[in-house]
Assembly symmetry: C2
Homo-oligomer: 420 residues x 2
């Protein structure tokens, strides 16, 4: 089965917001072996809505539409959909009671008319009751196609997908399956990776596709098999995943669709190894990225973000003479920062960063993009200087990824040695 | 003039990555008064590429295509494009020399054949030379339409847009202008905001549109005016922006298209007021969000992320008896954390957070989503307990936004009082 996702909203088309809903929805559909054939973003305009629905209905079996249902702009959307399906809008008493109840509980006083209109739904639709917001979803089945209309607010969309749409789609019969498998690699570039495994890739059958998904400092490999025999797809994919994995060796950090932070949190947790960070140019980003993973508190003790030299001395025990001789952005300083924060939080490992993220602060000797990173482990300290480029946000992300990679490599080295 | 953005890549359609390129490109186009009429994401498949090009050519004057040009998958894309334009591929010697040079400088040794193929370009295209990567861009002008094909790697796409595509588009003549103006509001919900300004909105002329763009804890208002007389659009928009701004009073934190963090950094910097954070459940997220803004080092001194009680006592001077009596997630503890980190970093203001972000760690008394936040200023300390929901990432984001809002409100209060 195939699906198309349509997102409605001027704010997407003028770049005001990034559409993150579609990626999440596509992931959910992939789990049901439903292939997304197109994602279409259109403005809050009746003509565009009707045209996009018509095109999507030609391409896909399932059409999921998000956005355009907020209290300040649902008129255009609902009327355009009603026109497309040749139907009218009716006020749903259960939805109206629900919206009134939300206003009453929140102590908002009288309810504006624009919220009352949120209870208007298409006469031919099944109402997808929205427990977590005021805008109801709607679904329509017609000519063998399934349409769902959902609010664009991410957690409301997710609630309605999880509780209303995906259960309905699960009940549909399947005859073609899609099976995905993943390898996460760190520390090798896309084209070198491709060259390393050319011969394996050439042996893959036509129904198995390999995709290279490069990120900052990592490349994710996705194996996708499509066919009628799910068991065979799984076995054949596993065969090629194993070959690629053994060829790439230490570059493979995970055999699953996970983030590098998740790999680090779960590995360190299971080895009962703890980490702290001392961050200057990354400003807490490494810490935030690690602690976003559920369970991080079992392996992560804490962070000091120390912008000022005074804080580096007082909190992290960096010596004044090191700062004076070598400066805050130096291998000597990050080494002392890493060792200092490891002691402070009584951890087994620590990362420290100091650099010139930009756009200001560069000098001839240390231009914007100069970053020093140290990792300290049970026995060893490693320090490196990187030369990134001009973009502040990108430099912070690259430093974060480089620090995590250095941490991972040192852990692997010390762990492999200690268990030999 | 109108534009359509097409993004090519299986990884977008199966939700592996979020398409952030389109939003950035749309922002750039908006600055040239070019309206994006559709964003279309399609798979790495010749049929889909040709069909999308045909549809886009009907809808828009400018068609910008990203993705599908990486070394491991550019064959399909380039051949599909060549077929669409009835042309062939030729190897470009300047591009080939550039790619070889990149490999040589990087010390990668011999260059794989797949990289050599990156120098193949459409015979009828203008090559958009890519200084920052191996995949060249291409542009084609045909039947009054402008097409550009760019790599999907964000910084390569941005380089080519800034140095090759946007200069070409700037030279086109304009007859219709689009003018945008923005207000950023914090602390008032979308529907209440809409009700507050209903009468002003009703007086707005037809060529001026108001959009509500809700985020977590904030609503951005975008005024968009379209017409032939740019001076009049700017004046009339300013008139309505002023009315809305004066009606909404303290809820308006900025009159520009900026983030709340940018407002805080610039305001605190210009008042020479400094901030530190003590973070438990947010894990450094508040710090990372503030320090991502260029210039943050002028007003941000540092952070302690203290997961363990021991660190709260040793680093932040939280008293053991407070932790024993009230627990780590309590108003008493965050108050002492905020006061402790303010002293530690010698700042004027501080934020502290402690909570149960989930999914684990909840109890009957303090379920997942319970978060305490304190802000301490020059004279006053304010503490609040929030009850969020189940999603870890969302709880961290909500806590971050609530902490920043409390900081902003306390600063406004103390600053207004002190200058009376």
């Amino acid at each position: 089965m195939t699906a198309e996702i349509i997102t409605i909203g001027d704010e997407i088309l003028n770049g005001q917001i990034v559409d993150t809903n579609s990626a999440w929805m596509a992931q959910q559909l992939a789990q049901l072996h439903i292939v997304v054939v197109q994602i279409t973003s259109i403005p809050d305009a009746a003509g565009a809505i009707k045209h996009a629905l018509g095109q999507a209905e030609k391409r896909a079996d399932i059409i999921l539409v998000t956005g355009g249902l907020g209290p300040t702009k649902d008129d255009v959307t609902k009327e355009a959909i009603a026109a497309y399906f040749n139907t009218t809008l009716v006020r749903d008493p259960a939805v109206l009671a629900h919206v009134e109840n939300i206003f009453e509980r929140a102590g908002y006083g009288d309810m504006p008319e624009i919220n009352r209109r949120q209870a208007d739904v298409l006469a031919n639709a099944l109402v997808l009751f929205n427990d977590v917001g005021t805008a109801p979803g709607m679904s329509i089945q017609q000519n063998g196609k399934y349409f769902a209309f959902l609010p664009g607010v991410p957690f409301e969309m997710k609630f309605l997908m999880e509780h209303r749409v995906l259960p309905a789609l699960r009940s549909y019969q399947q005859d073609t399956f899609v099976h995905n498998a993943y390898l996460l690699t760190v520390g090798i570039g896309e084209s070198h990776l491709a060259r390393e495994i050319t011969d394996i890739e050439e042996q893959m059958p036509a129904y198995l596709k390999l995709a290279y998904l490069p990120g900052i400092g990592s490349v994710r490999l996705r194996f996708t098999a499509v066919g009628p025999d799910l068991k065979r797809l799984i076995e054949e994919t596993a065969n090629f995943v194993d070959q690629v994995k053994s060829r790439l060796g230490k570059y493979v950090v995970a055999q699953a669709d996970v983030s590098f932070e998740e790999v680090i949190v779960h590995t360190f947790k299971s080895h009962q190894v703890s980490v702290a960070t001392a961050e200057s140019c990354t400003g807490g980003r490494i810490s935030a990225q690690i602690t976003q993973v559920a369970g991080a508190s079992a392996m992560f003790n804490g962070t000091v973000v120390a912008y000022a030299n005074e804080a580096k001395v007082e909190l992290l025990s960096v010596s004044r003479s090191t700062l004076e001789h070598y400066g805050a952005v130096s291998e000597q300083t990050v080494k002392e920062m890493a060792e200092g924060v490891k002691k402070l939080f009584h951890t087994d490992y620590a990362i420290a960063t100091s650099g010139i993220a930009g756009p200001g602060g560069g000098t001839a000797e240390k231009p914007v993009g100069t970053v020093c990173i140290a990792v300290v482990g049970r026995r060893e300290t490693q320090v490196r200087t990187y030369h990134f480029r001009n973009d502040r946000v990108l430099n912070i992300e690259r430093t974060t990824m480089a620090g995590l990679t250095m941490l991972w490599n040192l852990f692997q080295k010390e762990h492999l040695t200690s268990t030999e």
